[in-house]
């Protein structure tokens, strides 16, 4: 009678999702660590090897100074990730503090936070980034702070919404009436509700930060030219691309794109796996 009951398959969508997430994580962590280990001699200047097209020896070819583009790209991407980690850490802390404050206190605190969020979201992102980075003297410090203080608004909104929702839920209200203190309710009900949202938000912020850092650097307001950053590489490639040196732009660009897509994939995957309501695909 119940022949369709409890038939389980090993390879279902969730397992597939987990596998792709692991692949993505390995790619990202691999590049990060590898980039940290690469010494400067791997992409040292060598005028004997100028403008070599991709080959077995130089996978991504070489540039006008004969530097190996593969190692430069890895190093650049890894540098972007370091900046990403720091700026995301700062922004997510700003977001969680502002989000919780505005949801818990309401009233004028809520108004001020919402106003700040709207203001920050209303201004063109890139312009704001360039301005802040420029004011702080560009370089790693400037771009990190600029990325950190421009990426909190969307996450603040998300956290505020979640806190409001869980605070108004019947089970939290009932817990207060059953004599639980604010502190106990926060630990037992509110934080477990917010944490998944927070982690997903953080993972989804990464690609934003990395893209923006590269864009600002590309425009010349971020990392200095002597650093092997993706933005710098792409900017340099622009001057040579007309002469047919396509590999200078294509490979680093693709590396950046893959990194961004993988971050997005991990974030969306987490969202799917952690949300209790997606139990049926």
């Amino acid at each position: 009678m119940h022949k369709y009951h409890k038939k389980s398959r090993i390879l279902n969508k969730r397992v597939a999702l987990l596998i792709t997430m692991i692949i993505a994580a390995v790619y990202l962590v691999g590049i990060f660590i590898w980039g940290c280990c690469i010494g400067e001699d791997s992409y040292a200047v060598n005028f004997g090897n100028k403008f070599l097209p991709p080959s077995a020896e130089h996978w991504f070819g070489t540039d006008n100074l004969g530097r190996d583009m593969f190692f430069r790209s890895i190093k650049g991407l890894s540098l972007s990730m370091v900046i990403g980690v720091i700026s995301v850490a700062i922004s997510s802390v700003i977001a969680i503090v502002m989000g919780i404050l505005s949801a818990v206190f309401g009233g004028w605190v809520d108004k001020v936070v919402n106003w700040a969020v709207d203001l920050c979201m209303g201004l063109p992102h890139l312009v704001l980034l360039i301005l802040i980075s420029f004011m702080l003297g560009k370089g790693v410090f400037g771009i990190t702070i600029a990325a950190a203080v421009t990426h909190w608004p969307s996450m603040t909104r998300m956290i505020r919404q979640e806190v409001l929702q869980v605070r108004n839920s019947q089970y939290v209200q009932a817990a207060y009436k059953m004599g639980r203190s604010r502190w106990q309710v926060a630990i037992k009900h509110i934080i477990p509700h917010i944490l998944p949202v927070y982690f997903i938000g953080v993972t989804l912020l990464f690609p934003h930060c990395i893209m923006h850092e590269s864009a600002v650097t590309f425009l010349g307001f971020g990392l200095p030219r002597e650093m092997p950053a993706i933005g710098v590489i792409l900017a340099e490639a622009m001057t040579h691309i007309v002469t047919g040196k396509w590999w200078l732009a294509v490979f680093p660009g693709i590396m950046l794109l893959i990194a961004v897509i993988f971050f997005d994939l991990i974030g969306e995957g987490l969202k799917n796996l952690l949300n209790p309501h997606t139990g049926n695909e």
């Binding site: 839920s169 019947q170 089970y171 939290v172 209200q173 009932a174 817990a175 009436k177 059953m178 004599g179 639980r180 203190s181 037992k188 009900h189 477990p192 509700h193 209790p276």
Partner: protein, 209 residues
């Protein structure tokens, strides 16, 4: 003990229409007061006010002449209509049950709660089973009054009868006072010692919806 509401008026915002106006009632320990009336007459709002979830705009709720405590375990407890909304979906049933106190085995047996349910998630229990947990978790020794807001409306007749039988037995034993909100008049006649028609008590003038 006596739970009284005096001249309770309520509306959500200034200028929004009144939901309750000058409602007064009192419930003694051991008494089971049914509040019946069509939907939209503020039955649930009254329940939330009497159990301290909502503050009335004017008027007062007193327990033996004193205000309800703002902190700590409230001696007036509310049981909701939708048990699935009043439990945290991220907690297992055991944690949900022990939110405020640890019921002994005897009580659990009387409530028909099985130990093996403790390790289940709320979605793995039926509405009737969940509602038993919601009742047991507010039957701590400090509880004096229970406010039941349509607690069996969403359940089938057999589960409804089961739940009321065990709830009535428990209340009689401990001399609890109850306010029972329902739209089912035959149910109110079955379980209450006194029945109030809320439309007669509530002085709100309303355009028929």
């Amino acid at each position: 003990m006596q739970l009284t509401g005096k001249d309770i008026c309520f509306r959500y915002k200034t200028k929004s229409p009144w939901i309750l106006k000058d409602v007064s009632l009192s419930i003694e320990s051991g008494e089971r007061v049914g509040v019946v009336g069509p939907s939209g007459y503020g039955k649930s709002t009254l329940a939330r006010i009497l159990s301290g979830y909502e503050k009335p705009v004017s008027g007062e709720v007193k327990l033996d002449g004193k205000d309800l405590p703002g902190k700590g375990y409230c001696p007036v407890q509310l049981i909701y209509q939708h048990p699935e909304l009043s439990v945290n979906p991220r907690l297992k049933m055991g944690d949900i049950l022990h939110e405020a106190w640890t019921p002994d085995k005897e009580l659990l047996d009387r409530m028909g709660i099985e130990k093996k349910w403790f390790t289940r998630w709320p979605t793995e229990l039926s509405g009737g089973e969940l509602q038993r947990f919601c009742i047991a978790r507010v039957l701590a020794p400090q509880t004096r009054f229970l406010i039941c807001d349509e607690i069996t409306t969403m359940l089938d007749a057999i589960t409804q009868a089961q739940i009321w039988h065990l709830l009535l037995e428990e209340c009689e034993k401990r001399n609890l006072g109850m306010m029972i909100i329902t739209h089912n008049k035959s149910l109110a006649e079955r379980v209450c010692t006194r029945v109030i028609e809320l439309p007669e008590l509530n002085n709100v003038e309303r355009a028929d919806v």
